[in-house]
Amino acid sequence: MTAFRRAFRALAKTPGFTATAIATIALCLGANLALFAVVDAVLLRALPFPEPDRLVVLFNAYPGAGVERSAASVANYFDRRTALPALASVSIYQDASPIVGDGASPDRVEAARVSPEFFATLGVPLALGHTFTDADLTYQTDQVAVLTDEFWRRHFKADPAVLGRTFLNDGLTITVVGVLPPGFRFLSSRAQFFRAAGHELADRQPDRRHNNSWQMIARLAPGATLADAQTQIDAFNVRLLEGDPVAQIVKDVGFRTTVASLHADHVRTIRPTLLLLQTGGLFLLVIGAVNLSNLLLIRASGRLKDLAVRQALGARRRHVAVEVLSETLLLTLVGGLLGALVGSLGIDLLRLLGTTRMPLGAQIEFNPRLALVGLVASVLLGVALAVPIIWHNLRAHLASTLQTETRGGTTTRAALRLRHAFIVAQIALAFVLLASAGLLGRSLQQILNTSSGFSSDHVLSGRITLPWKSYQTPEARRDFAERLLPALRAIPGITDAAVSTGLPFTTNTNDSATAVEDRPIEPGRPLRAHYMSSVSSDYWRAMKIPLLRGRLLDDHDHLRKERVCVVDQAFANQYWPGGDPIGRRIAQDIKVTDENAFTIVGVVGEVKQGALTENNGHGAIYFPLSGAFSFSVILRTALPPEALAPAVRRAVLSIDPGQPIDDLRPLQDRIDDSLVAHRSPAVLAALFSSAALLLAALGTYGVLAYAVGQRQREIGVRLALGAQPGQVLAQFLRQGALLLLFGLLFGLAGTWAAGLAMRGLLFGIEPMNLAVLAATVGVLVAVVFFALYLPSRRAARTDPMVALRAE
């Protein structure tokens, strides 16, 4: 305690140094805590289920058809749920967004449809009631639900006798059979309740094994590993293919089922980005720590005499160490406390950058675990900062230090070398951060310059999902859309209105296998999948997608005997490179027949479907409006799109008072959302690199300014021996330039490694981009030279008389 009191007193004597040190620690630790909150919530913290390591996901893939990842089918579920010893429990689920309540107050909520073992697979017992049975798994019997605690409290006022009570879901009466415990949440799902996974009995047949519209999860049997499960599913698939009617086709496209950890698979897309950002944060922390080390070393050099006097009076090495440690710990603990505050604000900032939309992003919070991490980090940082100072202090020679007054001694060469090494490290780390930010920024710029293939300006889009009870036939559903479109076009300000089952930059894209006439499936030419949408005739005009050949679909195409479709240029190029696809026939099947054939009547421009970064050439097919349950509404307007939202909602309700429109937002927002994974790292890297640049500049300035102060005598001597001020200036600049040069060289090597690590995040730019590297060198040279110039100029202006007199 005495040591801490003394440390407090010493720090209070130098408020400028103390404030700088604490601010540096708070900034660097705070940034890292905020990032760690995300990394912890998304990557590190175990899923909130018993024995979460045993939870796995299974998905089918058809790489030969361009489908690297699909899902699973009802048939897969029934095939696999008892056949694989490595899997103790197998379940399927499907997200849904039904309307809850009656027509007077429709409320769209998120829900899911799950198989009976779903909660047992997760290891979550119900708080009330029971789960589903196999008997509930048909469209006729699936009107049963298990509620979340929140839904139970809000809709049933936590009625303990809720079992057997009912509520309206898409116009159907649903009976409550169970209630989940408080806090239950499946991954990133916001499902309010779970219904039984109803399906047609025909879906269980072998010919539907590849109708992959369900997600499959499983719990590994005790003692079983992922490898065991993978081996068993591979063998099982081989056995099933022996009797499969489409065995050859699925073999040709490389069908396989992958077993992966549920947690790792759920966060797979965001993992590299988060690790990259945390690494960037750690770089900033290291730069900050190096800066502090230098400041502390400088401070320690100035106090060597005090220390020597103490040692001469009997202080032992332990006392020296404790004194230094108390001071650095006091700094890092106070800095850490403020860092926690910065971290908390940082988490809010990260939310603005879109972390809540990440997988498991809702779990990101400042919690006691994070506070503990902050405390441990503060202590470790305090110890790490103390080590070089203790080394420096204990290395000082007592006698010569006590005599420095008479000999005009300066700092030791070893301490000087250490400080110079720190400067080099700081410049190198700042280089890596700056170059990484440059690469990410250029990459983002490249993405933004990439054409989506359509015009998203002034387009409002939303999603309508019609309930089965009110719209049981395709005709009824198409009728709804056909009545809706004129009502939407009548809204003042709307120039074009269209509907489509698929919409770029939403999850509502369908890529199913397509057969092409006169192009038999054979090894090397497998069946391929393409994006498919059913659209109204105004779709291309509303999206501003150009017609390249033939004609567009019209409002009567669905009435004609000959079924027609439009394809995009990528599809045409894939099957008829350089040829004319008009008049060719295709089918959403494995073979084209007169019954399933669609004739191509037009070719339109290719559009990006999921992301601006996706590779071209996937191909898209547009069919006439089909009467789907769920479709997007696309509205082009000359007004700000958001301003039309209330009128659009009213127009939808005017067609069906019980029918809401959801997710109504500008199309450009969806594109912006798709850029989160690129923009956020670029923004954060820019913030980090700016801070790193500032720290490097301050560090360089601090060390050189100190060196100038320490070397006043030497400068005076040099001037007295004939040096010109310009030569003194050049001497200090040369010394700084050498440090800068080494820093740049190490930074270049670091950037090469960093570029390789983040290659997956870069788009249209090589990791060692010359322009970025040149700009980085330019910025660093300018900033560091400015930091060098000020103290160097001061050195050059030294009055030798004053410098020598001071001695």
Binding site: G409, G716, G722, M801
Partner: protein
């Protein structure tokens, strides 16, 4: 060689102007060995630094050989200094981070002497002052006398015509002091180097040919 006429040095202080030197008239001939003496604060070091052209804020006339220093610009004064003057400090003022040889090289590096030539001159100087064995040692590894010997060698390495020494034996014990003074006498007599030293020691002053006394910034005996 040196002529000062009506030379004054005034420091503007908050409490009013402080006259460090007043109306100094002094002539030093080539080959002389002059000792400047006087109590602390009498202006000895100030005068020496003015002679050494470290200070330019004085009034009056200063003639060095045939050159009117008071008419020279900053750059010309620096050239004059580099060409003609060597300086020895009481506290040696060797550069801690440089070895003995590197310290000797410093004045040459400011005189644009080519690197090879510099090394040859340094070797000669080390030999001349019998410190070849110390060439790679750092100042902290030398005794006070050895450091001052290096200081003298450094002052002479560029072959100045005038050697200025500010209490060169002030930090040395008497044996070492005598050695340095003997060296000064030898340099003066054998090599013809003009020497001006500031000293408190009458014994050291006796090594020279003339004593100049200062008191309160004024020349009291010449």
């Amino acid at each position: 060689m040196l002529t000062l006429r009506h030379l004054s040095r005034v420091y503007p202080l908050k409490s009013g102007p402080y006259f460090a030197l007043r109306n100094i008239n002094l002539e030093i001939k080539e080959g002389e060995f002059v000792s400047i003496m006087g109590p602390s604060g009498s202006g000895k070091s100030t005068l020496l630094h003015i002679l050494g052209l470290h200070d330019s804020e004085w009034e009056g006339e200063y003639q060095f050989a045939d050159t009117d220093v008071h008419r020279l610009g900053k750059s010309a004064r620096a050239d004059l200094q580099k060409k003609n003057i060597g300086f020895i400090f009481q506290a040696y003022h060797l550069i801690d981070d440089l070895t003995v040889a590197e310290n000797l090289e410093v004045p040459l590096s400011y005189r644009n002497v080519p690197r090879k030539e510099r090394q040859a001159i340094v070797c000669d100087t080390l030999d001349r002052f019998h410190i070849v064995g110390k060439r790679d040692l750092f100042p902290s590894q030398l005794s006070g006398g050895q450091q001052q010997l290096v200081g003298v060698a450094r002052a002479l390495v560029a072959h100045p015509t005038l050697l200025l020494a500010d209490e060169p034996t002030g930090n040395l014990h008497s044996d070492q002091g005598h050695e340095i003074m003997e060296l000064f006498r030898k340099l003066n007599r054998e090599d013809g180097v003009t020497i001006v030293q500031v000293t408190h020691s009458i014994e050291n002053a006796d090594y020279g040919s003339r004593i100049v006394r200062l008191a309160d910034g004024m020349l009291v005996n010449n």
